[in-house]
């Protein structure tokens, strides 16, 4: 979307509105609101924001081991001696690793694929960090690979694909369970989820 120049000579304003508008989830009105907020804030606050943005671009890279976002290479998780090095959790995006980390239940390491196989959107296995995963498994230390790709069609395809690659290496391959979300309503659950939930039912303890 292009914005008319409301104020002749105020092109920096238009530039900033357009920059905000390009961000995901920000529409034209929100972009304007953010811009006018920044115009009224102190220079220090604006500079802090600009530096934070630059800092992300300049200092964040991908960990050479797990491919996750990191400031130091290897990342703090890969470098943490207390983590279980025999278990590897494969996720699609860095944010997925973050979500799993929030559970505080998983103590192993991660591997971030940076996507899922999606032929319709032109993403094939060669576009993912699959070769890096196989390289890590060659070390022989890993005894279990947890496939934590999304439970949608692309994620399932990716999991099946990885299973075929990894299983012959003699590593145990597991998949996250699928079932009902906490706080959900049984009547709205779809047949696929309910089938999976029934398949994966557990004894009450």
């Amino acid at each position: 979307m292009t914005f008319p120049s409301f104020f002749p000579g105020a092109t920096p304003v238009v530039r900033l509105i357009e920059a905000f508008h390009r961000l995901p989830g920000i529409g034209p009105k929100t972009a304007q609101r953010l811009t006018y907020y920044l115009i009224r804030t102190s220079p220090e606050e604006a500079r802090a924001l600009a530096e934070a943005i630059l800092g992300v671009k300049e200092r964040i890279r991908f960990c050479s081991i797990c491919q996750n976002m990191t400031e130091a290479d290897p990342c703090s998780l890969c470098g943490d001696a207390s983590r279980d090095r025999t278990t590897l959790c494969v996720v699609e995006e860095p944010l997925d690793a973050l979500a799993l980390e929030r559970t505080r239940y998983y103590r192993g390491l991660y591997h971030v694929l940076h996507g899922a196989i999606s032929p319709l959107n032109n993403v094939g296995p060669e576009d993912l960090k699959v070769a890096e995963l196989l390289e890590r498994l060659k070390g022989g230390q890993v005894r279990e690979v947890v496939l934590a790709t999304n439970p949608n069609l692309e994620g399932e395809a990716t999991a099946m694909y990885l299973h075929r690659l990894v299983a012959p290496l003699g590593v145990r391959v597991t998949r996250l369970a699928r079932g009902l979300p906490s706080g959900g309503d049984l009547e709205y659950a779809d047949e696929v989820t309910l089938t999976r939930a029934l398949e994966g039912r557990q004894d009450m303890r």
């Binding site: 995901p24 989830g25 032929p119 319709l120 959107n121 699959v130 690659l165 779809d190 696929v192």
Partner: protein, 262 residues
Amino acid sequence: MTRPKTSKTEAVVLRQVPSGEADALLVLFTPERGKVRAMARGVRRPSSKLGGHLEPLDRVTLLLAQGQNLDVVAQAHLLHSNLGLRESLEALACGWYLADLVDAFTPDEAPNPALYDLLVEALGWLEESPQPALLLRWFELQLLGLAGYRPEVYRCVACRQPLASQGHAFSLPDGGVVCPDCRTGQEALAPLSLTALKVLRYLIDNGFPQARRLRWEAPLSQEVEVFLAQYIRYILEREVRSAAFLHRLEAWRRRSAAPATL
């Protein structure tokens, strides 16, 4: 043309494109309206009540509300899930390919109920078919027919005479076989053996229950596959994206002894 504010329709989900925080743009194929794009809000959240109903290759009934630009999915109910396809990577890749072809060959909002029936039927066969290659070729030919590109395999496209048994070639721009007399040497030709020509006729003229009885060996099946891929590429003027993944799996299957490489 005015449409009611909400409409109920059956649809096969062809594609889901993530959009915004948790929304997705759906490309749907419906019997009444053809290909339709619709927004499904919040569908990528695990707790979304739309979530599991709107995956690619699912057959659903939908309540669509007319939005400003795009229709919005108000309700969704699963008629037939892609569960059978999710069990096998090959079946899934084939299903993707079918959806991709339908997507590529149809314009938005152009009803083609026969093509809808074909897609539903083919997805059904895919769940049980031990011969996906045959199903894919049959589907390609049927789809070409319903999209208006049915190849002429009985008469010469130039002189309209029935074909003799020798010297066949397929003219890509004319969409049919030309006899040796009519060939100018200028047109884009694809070679086609007599046996392959007979296979094309058989697959065009028969439903899949008959077509699946065909037994063919590798050189012939490959000739037909390569020929159809060439014809489809000529019509679309581009590659079919999902075919690459299909080929990769196929190559993998052939050298399945050593799968530990990419």
